[in-house]
């Protein structure tokens, strides 16, 4: 395992997860599993900011794996492993 998976929290997630960065040591897992693990490790149920009750991505949720949007990969089934950097953004707007 090449290092830890680095999970960074942004937007509204920051109000729930008080540290902006979480490092997770894990075997390869998918994004949904990673989110569950992050929820357990932080003790904060932030998933509702990202997922609907059916555990699908909310419109506007952005999850990047090494800068690439998981919607262009395998969505929540995208696999990640040690050394990957994951950015979690709750839905946002602006301009």
């Amino acid at each position: 395992m090449a290092g830890k998976i680095v999970v960074k929290f942004y937007g509204l997630l920051r109000r729930q997860v008080h540290a902006p960065v979480l490092e997770i040591a894990s075997d390869e897992l998918n994004i949904l599993q990673l989110l569950q693990l992050a929820k357990d490790k932080t003790g904060q149920n932030f998933l509702s900011e990202l997922l609907d009750p059916e555990k699908k991505l909310l419109t506007g949720t952005i999850i990047l794996v090494n800068g690439e949007n998981i919607r262009l990969k395998q969505n929540l089934e995208t696999l990640v492993r040690g050394g990957d950097s994951i950015d979690l953004f709750s839905p946002a707007g602006g301009g």
Binding site: Y10, G11, L12, R14, R15, E49, L58, T59, G60, T61, I62, L64, N66, G67, E68, N69, R71, L72, D87, F89, S90, P91, A92, G93, G94, G95
Partner: protein, 589 residues
């Protein structure tokens, strides 16, 4: 009449003559109000040869049929020819001024001529009084609003210029309701050239609603839609528009040091999250707005509004500056002096690169926040280095022989999204009728933020159709005149419903899209006459030739030629970007 007040007045500030502008029902239905009707009236009155600062140039303030009715309806549009770009230009602003202007009895006013001394207009009971403003000339925008409010009834709303507009800085803004700005394109300079310091309005006339019962039920439903949407119901309120800083940076397209890089090391320190935990005093909202994206902030020395996303970038990453207090105070200064923050910051960035290359003898350093306030103030008064910055980036870079270092389209500085990381936005910038602007077709929504649908930002396939559609919808919403943030939660059919309920006219979605297309095409016709064509629908060479080196947009370039012909074809324009006769005929132009 339902929706509209039914009166637009034209005033000549030279002769002081006033007349009612004849608008028939058909023209209202074809152009609605705001940007659309403003552009129609402008192009009827002025030619493409009209100098923006000449007395005969028209400056048009316009509300729309929804102004003063549903949520976010305090807005107004200003239309004229831009002194920054030479294109047709509209600029819109929030607050309550639009709603108050309508309550004073007018849908809009058309201003021509030049006063022989500084004046302001006071509008009430459907009439316009021309008042002396000699004592106001030289005051900043906050002082001006306060002084006029002391001379007028309670709840008077004021739109005014500051010293930058008086001094005809080509990117001077019009400010209203304290810190709301019609920022882009130099409408404040046009106002200054007319010796017009401000427009104040007060009144109590109500907008007549065609279907009051339906209106009540619709409003309750709209509130629920806004509240339920995670962006309009929560994210914009809590974090403001600067929540985009980290998002755009993570996509490797947060323009840094005049677009030489796409990632800013200190993005986090200037983010919406950081502002919320440091400078933010409270959220602020425009007239009847349930969203409340505005930021009332305080630094150690001052308080005011902002910064919003574009400003955080313009005085931050664009200059390599990470000092959030300096960014915020530069924003306050722009608000007070009446300057567009995007063009101001981008022009300083251009100057920094000119300095670095040795093309300009002035010594400006990336990351140096210590001179920001002086740059802003000197620009408004056109003194010292500010006399050069007041040119805007295009003219400044041309003057020093390096035109490619101005990050602009048609003379307007492009905002805080590097087009190399987002192909649809690149096409949107290139084909925008007022120059480098994100508000003509906000492709960041689908290409980055994922609403209403998620699109691959690096693909060019199908982008032409979507950019044209977004441009049409934006022109439509700008003519109603409502806030674009409603589009985050609402589709075209909701705007149709609002217009039907308020005006009683049987609008359809198709008709509204056609109205948007008509407006966009009419703007294009004016620009063609002013000499703009395919060669102007482009971007600075940096975006075609220099790859970004870091982040998730690295090795990317803009592929405009893959989209431009398609775009013209979708639009019904020829290969030079000129609308075909059949297109004009279809739109009744």
């Amino acid at each position: 009449m339902n929706g509209w007040m039914g009166k637009i007045t034209k005033i000549d500030l030279g002769s002081l003559e006033q007349e009612t502008v004849a608008i028939d029902d058909e023209m209202r239905r074809r152009y609605l109000g705001g940007r659309g009707l403003g552009v129609k009236l402008y192009t009827d009155l002025c030619s493409a040869k009209t100098d923006p600062f000449a007395p005969d140039n028209a400056l048009i303030f316009m509300t729309g049929p929804l102004t003063g009715t549903v949520m976010t309806s305090g807005r107004y549009a200003v239309v004229s020819r831009s002194p920054l770009t030479g294109t047709i230009c509209d600029s819109s602003s929030g607050g309550s001024f639009g709603a108050v202007l309508k309550s004073a009895g007018l849908d809009g006013l058309v201003i021509q001529g030049r006063a022989d001394h500084p004046v302001y207009l006071y509008i009430h009971d459907g009439g316009i009084e021309v008042r002396d403003a000699a004592g106001l000339w030289g005051l900043n925008t906050q002082q001006t609003q306060k002084a006029i409010q002391e001379q007028t009834p309670a709840k008077t709303s004021v739109a005014c210029i500051g010293p930058a507009g008086e001094n005809r800085v080509a990117f001077a803004a019009i400010m209203n309701d304290k810190d709301r700005a019609a920022g882009r394109g130099g409408m404040g300079a046009v106002m200054g050239a007319k010796n017009l310091k401000a427009i104040a309005a007060s009144g109590s006339q109500a907008v007549t609603i065609a279907d009051p019962e339906g209106y009540k039920a619709m409003n309750a439903r709209l509130e629920r839609i806004i509240d339920k949407n995670p962006v309009t119901g929560k994210a914009l309120q809590v974090l403001g528009t600067s929540v985009l800083v980290n998002i755009i940076n993570a996509h490797g397209m947060f323009p840094t040091e005049n677009f030489r890089r796409g990632m800013f090391n200190d993005a986090e320190g200037t983010s919406g999250e950081k502002i919320a935990e440091s400078l933010l005093q409270r959220q602020s909202a425009c007239y009847k707005c349930p969203i409340g994206c505005g930021r009332t902030t305080r630094t150690k020395n001052k308080h005011g509004e902002g910064p919003e996303y574009e400003t955080v970038w313009a005085f931050g990453a664009q200059l390599g500056v990470s000092d959030l207090t300096a960014i915020t105070e530069a924003n306050y200064a722009c608000n007070e002096l009446g300057l567009d923050t995007i063009t101001m910051g981008s022009t300083i960035g251009c100057a920094m690169e000119l300095s670095e290359t040795g093309a300009w003898k002035e010594k400006l350093d990336w990351g140096d926040a210590s001179k920001l306030l002086a740059f802003v103030e000197d620009t408004a008064y056109r003194r010292g280095i500010g006399a050069e910055l007041a040119l805007g980036s295009k003219r400044l870079a041309e003057k020093y022989g390096r035109p490619e270092l101005a990050m602009q389209v048609k003379g307007m500085e492009i905002p805080a999204y590097d087009p190399r990381g987002v192909q649809g936005m690149a096409l949107s910038y290139a084909t925008s009728n007022r120059g480098g602007c994100h508000m003509r077709a906000y492709m960041i929504s689908p290409e980055i933020l994922g609403h209403p649908v998620f699109l691959d930002r690096f693909s060019t396939v199908g982008k032409a159709e979507i950019v044209a559609l977004f441009q049409d919808i934006s022109a439509l919403v700008d003519s109603t005149v409502l806030c674009r943030f409603l589009q985050i939660a609402m589709g075209i059919s909701t705007f149709t419903e609002m217009l039907r309920t308020v005006t009683g006219l049987d609008f359809s979605d198709e008709e509204l899209l056609k109205i948007g297309r008509r407006i966009y095409t009419l703007e294009r016709v004016f620009n063609n006459r002013a000499g703009f064509s395919r060669g102007d629908d482009t971007l600075p060479p940096r975006f075609f030739n220099e790859e970004l080196q870091t982040g998730s947009s690295r090795h990317r370039l803009v592929r405009l030629e893959e989209m431009l012909d398609d775009y013209y074809s979708v639009r019904g324009w020829d290969k030079e970007g000129v609308p075909l006769p059949r297109t004009l005929a279809e739109l009744g132009l």
